[in-house]
């Protein structure tokens, strides 16, 4: 299979794709189709955390949940986000492909020490949970003027 990868007329990306399809073929030949499939699908969007001197923002992609069923708690600087997702089921339809996550999820995030427990806001839009935590005044950097 590697002989075919040596062609100079192929770009690096093409080679990579070719390798991927070769892998697919090998996995399939070995009867491991499902396994390879799982590996390919394990890369899913993950949490994104960003901070400014004023606040910390957490973005958690969780499509198709009921935001009321999400629990967000903050203890000191440790935030826990948990909830459940129930994917659509049907008695009359046959499930031909099933990849979407179904069940409970739980995340624990360590935040900076200066987060304000009283100022936490959460919203849910387009399948992304956004939690905004303000940081305490005193912790913000102050500009000292020299007299």
């Amino acid at each position: 299979m590697f002989a075919r990868l040596n062609g100079f007329d192929r770009s690096l990306t093409d080679n990579f794709m070719h390798l991927e399809s070769e892998m697919e073929r090998l996995f399939e030949a070995a009867g491991l189709r499902g396994l390879h499939h799982t590996a390919k699908h394990s890369v899913q969007p993950q949490m994104h955390i960003g901070s400014t001197p004023e606040q910390v923002d957490i973005y958690l992609p969780v499509a198709g949940i009921d935001p009321k069923a999400v629990n967000i708690s903050l203890e000191r600087n440790q935030m826990t986000i948990s909830g459940q997702r129930d994917v659509e089921k049907s008695d009359s339809a046959k499930l031909v492909k099933k990849e979407r996550f179904d069940g409970e999820f739980r995340y624990q995030i360590n935040l900076p020490d200066d987060v304000d427990q009283e100022k936490v806001e959460a919203s849910y839009e387009q399948g992304v949970l956004h939690v905004k935590i303000a940081r305490r005044e005193a912790a913000k950097p102050r500009q000292i003027t020299i007299q």
Binding site: K40, T52, D57
Partner: protein, 131 residues
Amino acid sequence: MSHQPEVVAKEKAVAEKRASSYQSVRPNVDIHEDKEGITLLADIPGVSREALDIQIDNEILSIDGRVELPVPNGAKADYAGNQTTRFQRSFSLSKELDGEQVEATLKDGVLALRIPKRQEFKPRKIEIRTA
């Protein structure tokens, strides 16, 4: 009557790979099949209606959506799990599906595509006439 065609929407590997880049992610999908057609559900959190492009060309269905997070200006990324910017995936539709009649809805980051079977492939009940 339990004889139903097996897979009605097969992944189109070639088209998908051509369009993919390092930053693109294949959305996870569920596909339900019933007598009238199929329903394809795809998780694409963070993609708005405006940033989503669904195309059917030559029986190839392509989904392409850009993720836009409203990150505040000047924010420092403390932890970026993976910098997803795009969801991309393609499927080749089997002949019995009617690509002209696709209905798409997007709610809470879940894209639902309803693709009916062509009339001639839907089950028909044959009336038996009394002699």
